[in-house]
Amino acid sequence: MMSLIVAGSLAGLVVLAVLLYGERRRTASLRSQLDAAAEDLQHMQLACSKLAPAGIVQRLVAGDSVASLTVPERKVVTVLFADLIGYTAISEQLEAGVLATMLNGYFQHMSDAIHDNGGHVAKFLGDGILAHFGALHSNPWQCDDAVRAALAMRTAMAEYSAELTRNGLPALGVGIGIHRGPGLVGLVGSRDRMDYDFVGRTVNLAARVEALTRVHHVDILVTETVREALDKRFVLEAMPPQIVKGIAEPVVTYAVRQPQPSTASAV
């Protein structure tokens, strides 16, 4: 009888041990799946940060509703619009792979210059770049930041072009237009596809001003509104007023001459 009880108890213990082992393995498996899901989530968040400002992605991941982010906010923002000079001719000369590598290098150098000076690259438009200063956070120094970014882009472009010509590729040039004005900031788009954007006439005028760099044969142009807010130690040169599409009055622009602020003022 006693041996039966012992055998039964032992059998019970073995069954219990097997059950516990199974449970432990299931827990470990679930935990491993949870870890993988958490890692996927983090990778996704990092990937999404390349498509929208990281702060906005974090807010969405953290549970802020899209609706709360789509309420547009009226802000004064400085817009920088940059475009490659002679891109069409270059694109016809080069193989697609070489062209893509060259363009990616250009976008990277320009984005770094914008980011290092407090700007945010909103989007790439073909070979163009649209950047905002003061859209994500309040920034009373947005005009100085945008012009510093443009000067950094000028330097970076010269270095990148030198690198391209050393590799037997054509040199690149960039035209940059900067304008400051009001508009709406927020997530805009359709139910399926949204962009964090700044919309309004300010963006259009920045693009028009960039186009004027070809007319005036300069690389960086700012509008009167930017000049008024700009540190007077930047050396600017007034350009002749010019009619542009969609704007009734001729647009007065200034070319940025000085690579870094100094104590002299030219305007």
């Binding site: 870890d35 993988a36 890692e39 956070h137 920034n139 009373p140 120094w141 807010a229």
Partner: protein, 365 residues
């Protein structure tokens, strides 16, 4: 597979200063908190800052109304928002030492601000995020949401203080790149797992609720309005003590500190702080035109080298990426002495916390 929790993915530079051991200070930290946290020796060259990171912690007798559990959640989320690896790991380690399992911590991290938390907690977390990252207008909206959820004005002020203290602490630790590894790895070390019950006892034993404390007089320097707004709460005395010590500290001039505070107030569009600071700088003899120039362009021929460097640095501290601001802080070390750099970090960190707080406690609801 390693668990991607915490903020270990955030790039973190090497520390900008060397630790300095100060037996008296470390003993003070142990008396007050039960342990001397590894950051204290890095702040030791500037005693007001080292004491502030201890004395301004809300869990040591500063709160009358808000529950400690909510404080910890808000601190965790604000530290995450500010990408402060040190403070985030610190709160995690604290929660873990208090008995929260690693698994439960991970669940909290994954579910923060989701629907399975009470609406009041969600509102408090949203408010914490908003106070840290948004301008005054958005903060007022978040503040209204707290009222809607039933928080009274006293509770709102306490939550706002918790967020401001976290903003201050996050910046102080982040700018100097205080090593976070020790705290991040704490729950993985066998000997710390063994000593966990003891650590828990020590830590919880030091925490206590605050008691109503009358404020004996209002100081006359900038940010005194915040001290006055907390009259009756132990927070007022703690803030006053920190501000007294900060203004009295000799490593940077009064004018330099005021300029840094003015730049931060301007960057955050905080009118209430800007007015106080304008007056204080006028009393220091700074020409109004020079101040306008400094605030508009962060430079003026009237500034000395140290001021020129630190107004630019102050601007960088408002919205920052940890690694970039850490590189800037380390670059300052080429010109500033160790104590000057630590003090500059302390002033910028405190200004960022208090300026955001002023929007709530110094404005009419």
């Amino acid at each position: 597979m390693s668990v991607p929790t915490g903020l270990t993915h955030v790039p973190w530079e090497s520390c900008a200063v060397e630790p300095v051991h100060d037996a008296e200070l470390e003993s003070y930290a142990r008396r007050k908190q039960g342990i001397c946290l590894p950051a204290i020796p890095y702040f030791a060259p500037v005693p007001w800052l080292a004491r502030a990171v201890i004395d301004l912690r809300p869990e040591y007798g500063l709160l009358l109304q808000v529950e400690q559990q909510l404080v910890e959640l808000v601190t965790l989320i604000v530290s995450q928002e500010n990408s402060c690896r040190y403070c985030y790991a610190g709160v995690r380690a604290l929660l873990w030492a208090q008995g929260v399992s690693k698994e439960h911590l991970e669940r909290i991290e994954q579910q923060l601000s989701r629907a399975n938390l009470p609406a009041k907690t969600v509102a408090a977390i949203a408010f914490g995020r908003s106070q840290s990252r948004s301008g005054p207008a958005a903060v007022r909206v978040a503040c209204d949401a707290l009222r809607t959820e039933g928080f009274d004005e006293g509770e709102i002020k306490e939550i706002a203080y918790v967020v401001a203290e976290t903003d201050f602490s996050n910046r102080a630790h982040t700018f100097l790149a205080i090593p976070a590894r020790f705290l991040e790895e704490m729950p993985n070390r066998w000997y710390q797992r063994l000593s966990r019950p003891l650590v828990r006892r020590v830590l919880l034993g030091r925490q206590y609720r605050g008691r109503a404390t009358p404020l004996d007089g209002v100081p006359s320097y900038p940010y005194a309005g915040i001290v006055e707004a907390y009259a009756g709460s132990p927070i007022a005395q703690a803030l006053r003590h920190t501000l007294d010590q900060m203004w009295a500290s000799p490593h940077l001039t009064q004018r330099c500190k005021l300029l840094m505070l003015a730049v931060i107030a301007h960057g955050l569009e905080s009118e209430v702080c800007a007015i106080e600071l304008d007056h204080a700088l006028e009393r220091e003899g700074l020409d109004r035109i020079v101040l306008i120039e400094v605030l508009a362009h962060l430079d003026s021929a009237e500034l000395d080298d140290c001021e020129r460097l630190l107004v630019s640095f102050a601007r960088e501290t408002i919205w920052y990426q940890p690694a970039a601001v850490q590189r800037s802080a380390r670059a300052l070390r080429r010109t500033l002495s160790g104590p000057q750099l630590v003090e500059a970090v302390g002033v910028a960190a405190l200004a960022n916390g208090l300026c955001r707080l002023a929007t709530i406690v110094m404005s009419k609801p």
